[in-house]
Amino acid sequence: MKQEIFRSRWLPWWLSAPQLIVLFLFFYLPIALAFFWAFHLEQPFGGRSEFVGLENFRRVLGSGEFWSSAGATLLYMVLASGTSILTALILALAADRALKLSPLARNVFIWPKAVASASIGVIFVFILNPFLGILAPLNEIWPGFWNPRTNVTHTYIMLFVTNVWNAIPFTFIILLAGLQAIPQELHKAGAMDGSGPWRRLWDIQLPLLTPQLFVVIVLEVADSLSGSFGLIDTMTNGGPGGATNLLVYKIYSDGFKAYDLSGAATQTVILMALVACITGFQYVFLERKVNYDR
């Protein structure tokens, strides 16, 4: 971190206090209550709550479903955020050029943001319907070419495609804005040194885009985790055969559809630890590579 201009003992705390209070009340306090449940056997309506120590953790960590769900979650986070960032980066690089289509594209690529995630799932389930959707003709030629309802790989592809559509606006805006802020002179200077467009992408554009890429990576990884809930809820319900029962959805359905508050809370605590590790990793290893000077 840099900057560090002003010195004051109390002022920064007063400035951060409003946000910290809101976060405390509506993020950390609810989580703390969940922590409590993780060490108890909790009746849903609060009738009785028995302290069981680490029993809940033993049970969760001992169940195969939890581990396969956790593994699937990690894989999903990597692939979902990777595909959406890559897609948005390619679109942003294309839209950064002064083409006739660019103004239209810059506008349209933000439209998906206006659609509520519940509707997005419903729409894509239809479009990718194996019998009626856009891939149905291919299925008639090669039966079984595309079936996200029974083929787990296809199910994940369906989720990734939907996630990309959903994630384009934010990632695209941030990356495009970053690209547009790169001064033309740098391009010209690069071109005069004889480096072609591909070289300039690696030597000039991407290094200068690191602050934006960093923001986008942190937020997309986070979004792929929290956003998976809405997609799975409307598209796969965790199927086929539990293959897309990612942790966020599993916690929700265990806890709030099936009233196993303790089991859900235990998994929340573990997920929280996982999230802390990922965030820590991003800040320790990725932020070093960010170039704030222009």
Binding site: Q3, P12, P18, F26, L99, L101, A116, I120, A222, I278
Partner: protein
């Protein structure tokens, strides 16, 4: 451009066309489905041939939901959330970026960690807190019974925010992405600016108000619009936190059009409804697109 880049431009053009098709296809499908009648839909299932029932569907959505009031609610909540998140982000990121001292790393970590877990996972406990925001005060006061010893009875404050605009909006502000983005922006502001201010005898608050805020107008507007839309499309929390029709938001109100699990959903009607609630944010995006992109440059240049 710099050299002869027509071949690259052609590739870029093809990418843009592919991107446009990808983004627009689902939206076209929504519009087509909204033109069909329920009976058509039951017989033919989904079809890409437009029907003639667009206006009928719109009328039915209008009569079965309470869209004017719900839209107003969405606007109010969206505005509160947008203003609130931007304001909280400004003060926090200012403190994190421009001040020396211990603790700012911790503050920043606390903020960033909140990005990852969705509110859906805390729905029951978040509801309990919203039902009585004074809960932590009570707990602290009654810890070890010192309050009772001093005042002759346990502290039992009650402050219920459920079913109020505040109760719907404030929990939606408890998420740090806005702050994270603004921190990145503030970091690109040249330190010389603030050093010059110190030399001129400008205090930190004056600097924030007179120099930093005007300088950040673009990003703040862009973030505000973006956060407004994010609040607009929320579903789960507004559904849970509001009980009365007077506080129902538009996206939640649309669920009235869904059928029970045993029945076949009236997709044409739902899509017509989706169009109606998507239009306001879509118009906002279409109108302010340039400002949003320019504002989120995350760089003061």
């Amino acid at each position: 451009m710099i050299e002869n880049t027509s071949s690259i431009d052609r590739v870029a053009g093809a990418i843009l066309i592919a991107g446009l098709l990808f983004v627009l296809t689902p939206l076209v499908f929504v519009v087509i489905t909204a033109t069909q009648s329920y009976e058509d839909f039951l017989r033919n299932n989904f079809s890409l041939i437009p029907g003639g029932h667009f206006l009928d569907n719109m009328r039915e959505v209008w009569s079965r939901t309470d869209l004017p009031r719900q839209t107003l609610n969405s606007i109010i909540v969206g505005a509160i959330v947008a203003a609130g998140r931007v304001a909280l982000a400004v003060t926090t990121s200012y403190a994190v970026v421009f001040f020396a001292g211990r603790g700012r790393g911790l503050v920043y970590a606390l903020v960033v960690a909140s990005i990852m877990l969705p509110l859906e996972l805390m729905i029951i406990t978040a509801y309990q807190v919203t039902a009585n925001v004074a809960l932590p005060l009570n707990v602290v006061a009654n810890l070890g019974g010192w309050w009772g010893a001093l005042f002759g009875g346990p502290l039992d404050l009650r402050w219920n925010l459920l079913d109020s605009y505040a109760g719907i909006s404030i929990p939606l502000m408890a998420q740090g992405s806005c702050t994270m983005i603004l921190v990145q922006f503030f970091r690109t502001i040249p330190p010389q600016l603030a050093r010059a201010a110190i030399v001129d005898g400008v205090g930190p608050l004056r600097f924030l108000w007179d120099i930093l805020l005007p300088l950040s107008k673009g990003p703040l507007t862009a973030l505000g619009i973006y956060m407004f839309i994010s609040a607009w499309i929320q579903y789960m929390w507004p559904l849970v936190a509001a009980s009365s029709p007077a506080r129902t938001m538009a996206v939640v109100g649309l669920t009235r059009l869904q059928e029970d699990a045993d029945r076949i959903p009236d997709f044409p009607l739902q899509m017509a409804g989706a169009i109606l609630v998507t239009l306001p944010p879509l118009i906002l995006i279409a109108l302010f697109q340039r400002r949003i992109v320019r504002g989120l440059t995350l760089s003061e240049k």
